[in-house]
Symmetry: C2
Subunit: 435 residues, 2 copies
């Protein structure tokens, strides 16, 4: 075995993920040695507070409050773990221009500026890796890139946000309402004090942009992904979902049909028998269909110090293993991928099944009238649940439609709402059949 120089890491940030990374490098040192036959050492770390006590065994002299001391020092790889767009964006550009490889877990940055940063990495003949930005510890991006490279993907569905999945699981299994579940998630550290990026679907949309960019060979900007969060999901929706044989999840969905891709983030009814239905609490999963391999599911922890740190470390290992190859393989793959299909249009014309919940006045003929209106718009009903009276004179009328275009559903609902005996349209949620 050759004696090789140690690999020097500069780390921007020393929060949850960074401390996970450094701790894994310690307790799994024998695995790192076996993988790369070189030492990995952390030589510079950007922190806000030099005096803070940290649960990692790094010497005090590695810490600095000056980002450019990390970026410009004698390091091989810069690991960006501060998150957010600014100043991470400037730091990564500076690092790439400085011919440093970059590893990041920053989904917002990669979703918004990934293409530009990848081109900059290619131009400088260095690598930019971001496995930890999607699915936390699940090795999904590198597996698609390296171990599923000969498949055309027909669809990608993900449960990519652990916070919302925790909230929905608590509502389903413990009977909490939305507000209680959010509080429980905050108490356990699964939700921020301001959970809006999670519950509104932004976080999942960032990840879907990155994931579908890789699976379909074309990046769709996160602003072009329609998204709906889980804020409107009620305890009642959850109960009906269960009764009808489903679980409600916040789904990130990408479907390729010919030269079009439909991307969206939305709450969805998932059949209880589908593997995504058993993905609970803070777990994440990615479900893919390839034209050769068929259906695949990858499941694991979508966040957390050690799982995410593990994904960052695998990117570092990949760079070290591949850095000596003369051709920049990643860049070539990326270009080939981008070139091949960059004419895909974004569409949202897909036929879907829908769950609809409305309040109606309980009298004969109501269901018939509503079914007729939906029929007029080519929407037929697959199943109906009618419950006992509420306190007042109304009853909830719940049904799942057969597959239909959203514009027809909306037109039928518009007309339905004008009926005198329809007092409220409570919910409309996509029922995903994974076709």
């Amino acid at each position: 075995m050759k004696e090789l120089k140690p690999v020097k890491l500069g780390i921007l940030g020393m929060g949850t993920v960074a401390s996970g990374l450094v701790n894994i490098m310690d307790f799994n040192k024998n695995k790192v040695d076996a993988a790369i036959k070189r030492d990995l050492t952390v030589t510079k770390v950007l922190v806000k507070n030099l005096g803070k006590k940290r649960n990692v065994s790094l010497p005090q002299e590695v810490y600095t409050q000056d980002a450019y001391e990390v970026i410009n020092s004698d390091t091989d790889i810069i690991v960006e773990l501060i998150g957010g767009i600014n100043p991470a964006y400037e730091y990564i550009k500076a690092a790439l221009n400085n011919k440093k490889h970059v590893v990041t877990a920053n989904k917002a940055l990669i979703a918004k500026h990934g293409e530009e940063l990848e081109l900059l990495a290619d131009k400088n003949n260095v690598k930019l890796m971001y496995e930890a930005s999607v699915g936390g510890g699940i090795p999904i991006l590198n597996t698609i890139r390296e171990n599923l490279s000969t498949n055309e993907f027909e669809s990608v569905f993900g449960i990519l946000n652990g916070t919302t999945n925790f909230i929905l699981t608590q509502m389903t299994e413990n009977g909490l309402d939305y507000d209680q579940a959010v509080k429980e998630a905050q108490r356990l550290g699964f939700a921020e004090a301001d959970p809006s990026s999670d519950v509104g679907g932004d976080d999942a949309a960032y990840k879907l942009s990155i994931l579908s960019g890789l699976a379909f060979g074309q990046k769709i900007h996160v602003n072009d992904i329609p998204k709906e969060g889980i804020i409107k999901i009620s305890r009642e929706d959850i109960v009906y979902a269960k009764e009808l044989g489903y679980n409600i999840k916040l789904l990130a969905a990408g479907i390729k049909k010919g030269n079009e891709i439909e991307l969206s983030v939305h709450p969805a009814f998932i059949p209880a028998s589908h593997p995504l239905s058993t993905v609970k609490n803070e777990y994440n999963a990615v479900y893919l269909k390839g034209n050769a391999v068929g259906e695949l599911l990858f499941y694991g922890k979508g966040a957390g110090s050690l799982p995410t740190g593990s994904a960052v470390l695998e990117d570092i290992i990949y760079i070290v293993k591949n850095v000596s190859s003369s051709a920049d393989e990643i860049a070539e793959n990326r270009q080939a991928g981008n070139k091949r299909e960059n004419n895909l249009a974004v569409s949202n014309k897909g036929y879907k099944q829908y769950y609809i919940n409305m309040e109606v006045i309980d009298k004969p003929g109501v269901l018939g009238s509503i079914a007729s209106i939906f029929g007029k718009y080519n929407v037929s009903l697959a199943s109906v649940v009618q419950r006992q009276k509420n306190g007042d004179n109304t009853v909830p009328l719940v049904f799942i439609t057969h597959e239909a275009e959203r514009k027809n559903i909306d037109a039928a609902l518009e007309e339905t709402k004008k009926l005198e005996f329809v007092t409220e349209l409570t919910s409309i949620i996509i029922v995903e059949s994974f076709k």
Copy 2:
């Protein structure tokens, strides 16, 4: 982009998997081009019958009935897809000694002779890859090797045999008894005319030997893996499992505790809420726990022409991408892995929960007497189901124990069987808690 020589493949066998491989190379040619920027061509194929009509578009002149014409011809990679030990073993040795890289889907051969063949590949500075030997299309081996290399694995659980999983699913969901389910599996092509290697657990044991060898860094010979098949699983066991909140699966289990690993293939009660419980019919899954990444599950098609062909093709792509690297990285990883932990002992002392079903004569005090005997051996009962009388005077008594050593369970059962009111011990099945 450089113009590079085409890569020449010689294929041994042209059955289901080989035709899948050749067809994927056709319909996903753009993906192969993007991945390796070189043509892949099939130059020689070993077949039994030269005249047979095949659903692949290869010119007639590639076919030969002489294996050594394939092995000795001007090819870069030999793809072995005839299966079984002989003559595949001799063919692969000849190919490796001939400095050809080898890709195989042959689980029996790799489980029995993998170490020797890997050493031979290393000696000849060529690669031996076998992703398709475990989990069909699921990219599990290469993902463990390449994308999870810095984790110490604590356990590996797999549903690795699609035939038995199909049979058990049919018994569970459609109320078939074992014989009916086997016939249905045979009718649909999921079981061989002689299904004994599948239903007896051999096939799963081969795969566990390979999988755990990679995950734990030490190969355990398949002969050292205790195995129990599904032949004794009755419709009644399935019904009790459901009632108690479980599904019965044939589980391949590897657990590392300190310097010991427990490996076994056995039917197991899987909690209905566990992700492995939703793996149905012909699907396979691998569930791993790493000390950094935590729990991961990989799910997909464990067999079939295109999924397995896809896994073979990914190995070919890997070899082409890595063949120019000066150091033989795979060999180095392998040696490092083997060296690191080659003192692991095989053990089967594990504490488990057990499902026990016995026929007893229905009279007061029976449960108390049995519980006392189990208590004497430090086995306590976690749940009990007592059913109505059978036609004769007996009733089934079903219980799940708390965790206990198998030798204590066996001692308690031995004593229980001597009780005059115990007429039959019907079943004993492990209840897996994945701890």
